[in-house]
Every structure is written in structure tokens, then in C-alpha cells.
């Protein structure tokens, strides 16, 4: 049984932002080490990332998204505005 792992973005100890120290090739297991910052989009919650994905797939049409999600237009607009606000705060430290 495969377990779906969530990509951790904050430190479980102090709550600070995590960075990537090493990456490995799934084919040949070559490892690259360094200090790579996590993109602000990856710091969003799973639901928010799903929303951004759906937004792109809808060609940025909030009206279409509202229909697809069964929500009202201002509700969808509010979710987007809250994500924008979050991304703005993340990008200040990126």
C-alpha cells in the first residue's frame, strides 16, 4: 500500500521555512547537494495548490471555476485573493 506523502515546507520543531539540501535522480540515484529555496507556490497547502492547478486548467476563468466547484463567484474570488495575499507574504522572504 503506497502512502501519499505531503511535501513538508515548515520545520516541525520551530516552524521556520525548510529548504532543500539534496535531490536524487530516481533513475540512477545520482545525488545533488546544495541549498535550494522552496518556491512560494510549494508552500501553499494541498488544497490551495489544487486550486491554483484548477485555475490554470480553466485558463484563469473564475466563472468557470465557480461552476466546476459548485461555489459562488465571490467565494472563488475570495479563495484566490487569500492565496495572492499568502504568496505576497511568502515572496517577501523568497
Amino acid at each position: 500500500m503506497s502512502v501519499k506523502k505531503n511535501f513538508p515546507t515548515t520545520c516541525p520543531s520551530c516552524g521556520g521555512v525548510l529548504s532543500v539540501k539534496s535531490l536524487q535522480c530516481a533513475e540512477c540515484q545520482t545525488t545533488v547537494q546544495g541549498d535550494f529555496a522552496i518556491h512560494p507556490l510549494l508552500r501553499l497547502s494541498a488544497d490551495e495548490q489544487q486550486f491554483v492547478h484548477a485555475f490554470i486548467m480553466c485558463s484563469g476563468s473564475l466563472k468557470q471555476m465557480a461552476v466546476d466547484m459548485g461555489l459562488s463567484y465571490p467565494t472563488v474570488r475570495n479563495i484566490l485573493d487569500n492565496i495572492i495575499e499568502k504568496l505576497n507574504s511568502y515572496e517577501e522572504n523568497f
Binding site: S72, T75, D81
Partner: protein, 183 residues
């Protein structure tokens, strides 16, 4: 449960405005047929007024509060606010007033109200009948839900939340009461 307390997560804009206008039109006809008029934001009194006046009052007590909420949203919100959303959601919230008005036309409630009025006019101590007491509880529930729906209409349309939104809504209600008293 969420749909009962906050239907605006699911309906807003033009669709809610159309439904809202239908609710207002139905309320107007019910009030007119029963010899009532909405003489304040949340007060309904007995008066033999012409249909146009009943309709005008219904629209006034919807559009003025909606306008004040919109202005408040412009001041508080960081989001782009659409007039159609605030008009649509507040119009849809008039459904609660319709639910409050409809039982007023029941003969038992009407008779009980007339008896109360007659007792008050004659100087006797009025004793509300069972129908009027049940209706009072119903109207209290409706009134509470009316405020909840209006708050949610404001919160969803203007993307405001938390204490800031609650405080602003209370201030707006005070402003509406003052404006309605002037009008």
C-alpha cells in the same frame, strides 16, 4: 447546515439577484394583500397603503442597507468588490423576511393581532393568543437568521472576516438604523 446559515458560498451575483427580486415581489404582494407595510428596516406595521408604496418601501429597505454595506466593503476590503454581488446576496437574504411575513396572513395570527390591537386601544391589558405567541418565536428565529444572512452576504461579497468584519457589520447596522429613522 452551512447552506442554511451561509447560502452565499453557493449563490451570488445575477442568479441571487433574480431570486431576491422575486422574493421582494412576493413579500410586497403578501404585505399588500394583508394590509401591512414594511415601515422600517425590520419593522412591519398595519397600514392600508397603495401597492406602489408597499413596493417602494420594500425596495428602499433593501437597497439602502445594501448601499451602506457596499460603501463599508469599499473601505475595508482588499479585494475587488462587485456591486452585483452585494445587491444579489442582500436581495436573496430577503427570503428570510418573506418567511417572516407569510405566517402573518394566517387567519389565527391576524385575528390574534387584531385582538391585541383592540385590547391596547381600549386600555385593557392585552393577552396574546397562542397563535401570536408561536408567531413571535418564529419571527425571532427569522430575525436572527436575517442578521446572520446579511452578515454572510457582506462577508462573502466583500471578502472580509473575523472581528474586523463583525465590528464593521455592527457599525453598519447602527448606521442603517439611523438612516432608516431619517428616511
Amino acid at each position: 447546515m452551512k447552506r442554511i446559515f451561509n447560502p452565499f458560498h453557493y449563490i451570488a451575483g445575477t442568479k441571487s439577484l433574480i431570486f431576491g427580486l422575486l422574493f421582494i415581489a412576493t413579500s410586497t404582494l403578501l404585505l399588500y394583500s394583508g394590509g401591512y407595510i414594511q415601515d422600517s428596516y425590520i419593522h412591519i406595521g398595519m397600514a392600508a397603503a397603495p401597492l406602489w408604496k408597499v413596493a417602494a418601501m420594500q425596495i428602499l429597505w433593501w437597497i439602502v442597507p445594501a448601499g451602506i454595506l457596499y460603501l463599508c466593503g469599499l473601505l475595508l476590503s482588499k479585494s475587488k468588490i462587485r456591486v452585483i454581488d452585494i445587491l444579489g446576496t442582500t436581495a436573496f437574504a430577503q427570503l428570510i423576511l418573506l418567511l417572516m411575513i407569510a405566517p402573518m396572513l394566517l387567519p389565527a395570527v391576524q385575528n390574534s393581532t387584531l385582538e391585541m390591537v383592540a385590547a391596547l386601544q381600549s386600555g385593557a391589558i392585552p393577552s396574546p393568543g397562542m397563535a401570536l405567541m408561536i408567531y413571535s418565536i418564529w419571527s425571532f428565529i427569522c430575525l436572527a437568521l436575517f442578521y446572520i444572512w446579511n452578515y454572510n452576504a457582506f462577508a462573502v461579497s466583500c471578502n472580509v472576516s473575523g472581528w474586523k468584519a463583525i465590528l464593521a457589520f455592527i457599525c453598519v447596522q447602527v448606521a442603517i438604523t439611523i438612516v432608516c429613522a431619517v428616511l
